[in-house]
Amino acid sequence: MAEEAVGCGRVTGTVGDDAPSDAHAPAIVDELPLEVHVTATVGQKAPDFTAPAYHKGSFNPVSLSDYAGSWVLLCFYPGDFTFV
């Protein structure tokens, strides 16, 4: 996978159908819809997403669907440089 070009736009994660047509070109914040509804429920399909990511020295966007066929542990946390 080609490494993402590092620009100055404020890029962010997107969910499901809101993802840009090029799955590896994360959306710019200004282009996003205002409302995203909670869809995560146990026993149901996990909402797919695409987001800019840092991974072992490179900036490469990651999608949940990149790991289809594997078990995935998805961990949200309040922020980098926090204490817990």
Binding site: R10, V11, T12, G13, T14, V15, G16, D18, V29, L32, V36, H37, V38, T39, A40, T41, V42, G43, Q44, K45, A46, P47, D48, F49, A51, P52, A53, Y54, H55, K56, F59, N60, V62, L64, S65, Y67, A68, G69, S70, W71, V72, L73, L74, C75, F76, Y77, P78, G79, D80, F81, T82, V84
Partner: protein
């Protein structure tokens, strides 16, 4: 996140991939990894650290804190079909216990490998007795399992 990185090889042995998500940019993720996390875990963070600056992913997963503009501590166990099998959400001051998450993954993997014919009782650990739900077990769980067996 260093706690997850520390157990990464154990997770990989179980066939588990990890993605972490916060509202920080991927550039900040790099700085946090390079300047702090590499001092806690050899080699730094081995998995993808995703950035969700606008909170879209957090909203979809129900972990978005609108007032603070952050994501709560949420961890989701997703199976190879992309189905969420487990979720746990904590407010920021309390950290997770990863060994419990790994235990749950092992239990979900056992149930999946049994084609759903097995269930794991409370407190189950790998190698311990599992239950076979069916007509013969109704009203008779007490014969094979009781809470004192939980370690």
């Amino acid at each position: 996140m260093s706690a997850v990185a520390d157990k990464y090889s154990e997770l990989q042995d179980l066939g588990v991939e990890v993605i972490s998500v916060s509202v920080d940019s991927h550039f900040v993720h790099k700085m946090w990894n390079d300047h702090e996390l590499t001092k806690m875990v050899d080699g730094g963070i081995p998995f993808a650290m995703a950035s969700d600056q606008a909170g879209n992913i957090g909203r979809a997963y129900g972990v978005w804190d609108e007032a603070q503009g952050i994501e709560l501590r949420g961890r989701f166990i997703i199976d190879p079909d992309g189905v969420i099998q487990g979720m746990e959400v904590l407010t920021p001051p309390v950290g997770r216990r990863l060994s419990e998450t790994i235990r749950q993954i092992q239990a979900f993997q056992l149930v999946r490998e049994s084609g759903g014919s097995r269930a794991t009782p409370a407190g189950w650990q790998p190698g311990e007795l599992t239950l076979k739900p069916g007509p013969d077990l109704v009203g008779k769980v007490w014969e094979v399992w009781n809470p004192s067996m939980e370690q």
